[in-house]
């Protein structure tokens, strides 16, 4: 129904703090764009600028091709789901959902029809007469979603909507949001600090750091080809193992040789925990990274186990399938194949 275009958007607070330092994102129609990053990276500020709750210092924000910099949140035709739901505590669920429509002068029977319809899709029909404080966290979350959907806006904005739910409910709601967004086909911007949420929800993933876009693209592309050490360590749990190289780049921090031909300018080598194998003595494919590692801790998760090891002067995590046989103190040979290695230069950029 609408595209969202950000062109060199900046936010400078009075006092000179630059929260967003020039961000350009083009979100295609019907896409779910997830802004992810650590706290203070400017992702919420960016969302609030799209919403019109925060003034844009410079650059342009367009919704559906129309520049909206000077337009208030009401006229932008957006709906927002807040972290703490921000339901009106004195209003019944029905009125919470109807409030925005009433303010727009929608006819009464039309409001009634739409509220009931949305309540039915969200399984809220039996709760319409309750007040927010009589609802559980998950139900409140649904009402907040319902309030956004009922207005059928051009753009949905989600500000960490699941961070107040427990882990199980969070997983459930994640799937629900994804399905809902797909079936409604409404362009959405979703802010989170949870990389798992970001990976699973996004059509388009934007990783932000210190007010700048670090990388954007399809979630799996970002995962497989992180553009920087920051993205590599932020996306993926546990994060990518990063080992610094010293000297001319042929040895590790502890002085042991890498035995690899490195690309020019590379000063850091990285590999994902699941891309490394614990191999018995034997032949390894040419170009593989071979590390001798000492197990420090074992985290059994069930379907897989994570071995935390000391190797090459740093700490690495290796994923092994099923139950791990290694015990703390064991010596292992960790092998990562050549095509799964990532190289980063002095500035942390991918080589």
């Amino acid at each position: 129904m609408a595209t969202v275009d950000l062109k060199d958007v900046k936010k400078v607070y009075p006092g000179g703090v630059e929260a967003v330092k020039g961000v350009s994102i083009a979100i295609p129609d019907k896409a779910l764009c997830v802004l992810v990053g650590p706290s203070g990276c400017g992702k919420s500020t960016l969302l609030r600028m799209i919403a019109g709750l925060e003034a844009i210092s410079s650059g342009t924000c367009s919704i559906d091709g129309r520049k909206v910099n000077e337009i208030g949140p009401t006229e932008r035709d957006i709906a927002m789901v807040f972290q703490n739901y921000a339901l009106y505590p004195h209003m019944k669920v029905y009125d919470n959902m109807a409030y925005g429509l009433r303010n727009r002068g929608t006819p009464k029977d039309e409001i009634d029809r739409r509220v009931k319809e949305v309540a039915a899709t969200l399984e809220l029909s039996h709760l319409l007469d309750r007040r927010p404080r009589e609802l559980s966290g998950g139900q409140r979350q649904r009402v907040a979603m319902g309030r956004a959907i009922v207005r059928s806006p051009k753009v949905f904005l989600f500000d960490e909507p699941l961070s107040n739910l427990d882990a199980k409910l969070r997983g459930q709601m994640r799937v629900e949001i994804k399905n809902l967004q797909r079936s409604l086909g409404v362009t959405s911007v979703y802010v989170t600090h949870d990389q798992l949420e970001a990976m699973t929800l996004a059509d388009m993933l934007v990783v932000m750091n210190a007010g700048l876009v670090e990388q954007m693209g399809a979630p799996l592309d970002v995962y497989e080809k992180p553009a920087s050490t920051f993205v590599a360590s932020f996306i993926g749990a546990p994060p990518m193992n990063l080992l610094p190289l010293t000297g001319d780049g042929t040895s590790f921090a502890d002085g042991s040789a890498t035995g690899l031909a490195k690309p020019a300018k590379a000063v850091t080598i990285g590999f994902r925990p699941e891309d490394a194998d614990v191999a018995a003595n034997g032949e390894v494919p040419a170009g593989s990274l071979v590390l001798s590692a000492t197990v420090q801790a074992v985290e059994p998760v069930g379907a897989e186990s994570f071995l935390h090891c000391a190797a090459a002067g740093g700490l690495i995590v290796v994923r092994v399938a099923g139950r791990a046989t290694a015990r703390p103190g064991d010596q292992l040979r960790v092998v990562a194949p050549a095509e799964k290695l990532h190289w980063f230069d002095q500035a942390g950029k991918r080589v």
Partner: protein
């Protein structure tokens, strides 16, 4: 109860009963005096049980017109006082909730200056500014009017601060949700802020109604005509220096009438009042 042994419970109850007695006895005695003839009152000791003049005294006070205050019945006095107390309570709430709304939710130049200006008025008691206020009221021709009784008393720094504190506990997200939902400043105020403040308003109303009801100095200055007196002023006027000159039985009746409305307000609004003081809506 902590340490719910029998003797402790007895002691606790005894203390409470004593407390009630200390508070309630003077009021009871006033009631007793209001049902006696003037002669009985003037000849001590006053009996501890109500006399037989209840209807005579009360009807005289209500409909007879009491001599010393220019033939004005208690009904008129009660009406005047009610108008003033309601005017002060409602006026104060309206003004302070609006100024608190402006100070908390809007960004305008000199916002903090205005806040401090309001705050500073707390430091000046009514008595200090009573002469200039009186002069202003005279110039406006508001002596012996309800407006003159009410207006100078309706600006309230205390109530403004109270609402300000409450408004500051309203989460920013709620304000933003309302903005996204298309609620302008007025709609936000009436649809969201006012309903959320209703317990605070109720508590303030009770306090301010009693404050207005018991006003003494200002009504004394600003009213000259007997039919504009408030009940508290009339009460004062009824009491003469010479004991024999004072119709004590009617004074007592008037005192009873002066007490009852504030009690009614407290009793009727008790539930809201307590909620407003102890609980904030979540």
């Amino acid at each position: 109860m902590i340490g719910a042994s029998r003797s402790r419970a007895y002691i606790a109850h005894a203390v409470l009963l004593l407390g009630i007695l200390v508070v309630a006895f003077p009021i009871y005695y006033t009631f007793v005096a209001s049902t006696q003839t003037l002669q009985t009152i003037l000849r001590p000791p006053l009996p501890l049980l109500p006399g037989r003049e209840f209807f005579t005294n009360y009807s005289e006070a209500l409909f007879g017109g009491v001599g010393r205050i220019g033939g004005v019945g208690v009904g008129t006095l009660l009406f005047n006082t009610t108008v003033m107390a309601l005017g002060i309570a409602i006026g104060k709430i309206a003004i302070s909730i609006l100024s608190a709304y402006a100070i908390v939710f809007f960004r305008f130049p000199l916002r903090m200056t205005f806040f401090w200006l309001i705050f500073i008025t707390l430091m000046l008691p009514v008595e200090v500014r009573i002469l200039p206020t009186y002069k202003v009221m005279v110039d406006f021709g508001l002596i012996d009017t309800y407006a003159g009784l009410i207006l100078p008393l309706i600006a309230s720094a205390t109530a403004t601060l109270l609402f300000r504190q409450f408004f500051m506990t309203i989460p920013g997200e709620l304000v933003e949700a309302a903005r996204v939902d298309g609620a302008g400043p007025w709609r936000f105020f009436f649809d969201i802020l006012l309903p959320l403040s209703r317990t605070n308003i109720a508590a303030l109303f009770v306090i301010l109604f009693i404050y207005g009801w018991t006003q003494y100095l200002w009504p004394l200055l600003v009213t000259n005509r007997n039919d504009m007196n408030t009940i508290v002023i009339a009460l004062k006027k009824m009491v003469s220096f010479a004991d024999a000159d004072t119709q004590w039985h009617l004074v007592m009746v008037t005192a009873m009438f002066a007490i009852v409305p504030p009690i009614l307000v407290v009793v009727l609004m008790q539930r809201w009042f307590v909620r407003g003081l102890v609980e904030s809506e979540k």
